[in-house]
């Protein structure tokens, strides 16, 4: 079995994500404040702690949709935590309470960082790399809520281009062999095909099915 890296290695892996996460947190705070007030966005960033779901819910609320539609939009984006939770679940530790708490550390970037590429996951790398991102996410939200009027339009600063760039970076790190390239291309094509027709969240969730090409491969352990 693999040895988990220590938590400091995880923290180090998470550090490059602090600035983009801070920037996205700021843009969430700036956009949320007029719609949600100044307290709710900060509470949301602490307790929900899922950027894509928060943006999806905010988009609905901004458009004047009700709580039900906002929750549905958020939960569609959350649906990807189910396969990710199943994948990483066996590598978390302790009883049900501790495992559940550790599962909060599952975020997209940390999931990718913790993935060893053979189907196993590094628990301390997951938790360690999520910690600085969590601080940046909540801190960014506070800055955005309080300082929105000074910062101006987050789009004019290109802040919304940071997340795609950061996913692209993580993705290129992942593309170590042909099977992974095929899974990535498959995921991208599925998302692209569904994007015009389906509610937000569906394209990403269905993109996960591209991973099923792994069923056709020889066991990872045998390589």
């Amino acid at each position: 079995m693999h040895q988990d890296s220590d938590i400091r290695a995880g923290l180090r892996a998470g550090l490059p994500l602090v600035l983009p996460t801070l920037a996205i947190g700021i843009s969430f705070g700036v956009l949320a404040e007029p719609v949600m007030g100044s307290v709710a966005p900060v509470v949301m960033s602490i307790t929900v702690f899922s950027g894509a779901a928060q943006f999806a819910a905010l988009t609905v609320l901004t458009a004047g949709g009700g709580a039900f539609a906002a929750i549905a939009a958020g939960m569609l984006l959350n649906a990807r935590w189910l396969p990710m939770g199943l994948a990483i679940g066996p590598f978390l530790k302790g009883g049900p309470v501790q495992r559940s708490i550790e599962s909060i550390a599952i975020v997209d970037s940390s999931f990718a960082l913790a993935s060893r590429g053979d189907g196993t996951f590094d628990r301390l790398k997951l938790i360690g790399s999520t910690l600085p991102q969590g601080a940046a996410w909540v801190g960014g939200t506070v800055i955005g809520v309080l300082g929105g009027s000074f910062l101006g339009d987050p789009q004019a600063l290109g802040l919304d281009a940071m997340f795609p760039a950061f996913f692209a970076y993580l993705l290129f790190e992942e593309l170590k062999d042909r099977t992974r390239v095929v899974a990535a291309v498959g995921g991208a094509l599925i998302a692209l095909a569904l994007l015009p027709f389906t509610p937000p969240g569906v394209p990403v969730l269905v993109a996960a099915f591209a991973a099923l090409i792994g069923l056709k491969r020889t066991p990872a352990a045998a390589r």
Partner: protein, 103 residues
């Protein structure tokens, strides 16, 4: 305001449940090798899907090409030039901001 707080409360519980259900269902049982082959590919498949969604997703649904796409192209160039992540992210923001400034 009530709608806002209901949304925050339900999404708090819902997000937690979505993340925790996997580990609660499986405990520390190891997945079979065939399942590991699938979970090994989840990161690239999901990242690629997220990348498309975050770059081309329009507000409120649908597909749109805007300055974020230019940011992504700039980011990919930076990645291919072996720039560190920090630089990649800043290059993307600068490209998107620059394009918006001049259009």
């Amino acid at each position: 305001m009530t709608a806002v707080w209901i949304t925050v409360a339900v999404l708090t519980v819902g997000t937690f449940a979505a993340k925790a259900s996997g580990t609660l269902v499986l405990g520390d049982r190891e997945l079979p090798p065939r399942a590991l082959n699938v979970t090994a590919l989840l990161a690239p498949a999901l990242l690629a899907g997220l990348l498309v969604f975050e770059t081309l997703g329009a507000e409120g649904g649908g597909l749109t090409v805007d300055a974020r796409a230019a940011g992504l192209v700039a980011a990919i160039v930076a990645i291919l030039l072996k720039a560190p992540m920090f630089a990649v992210v800043l290059v993307a923001a600068a490209a998107a901001a620059g394009l918006r400034l001049f259009t």
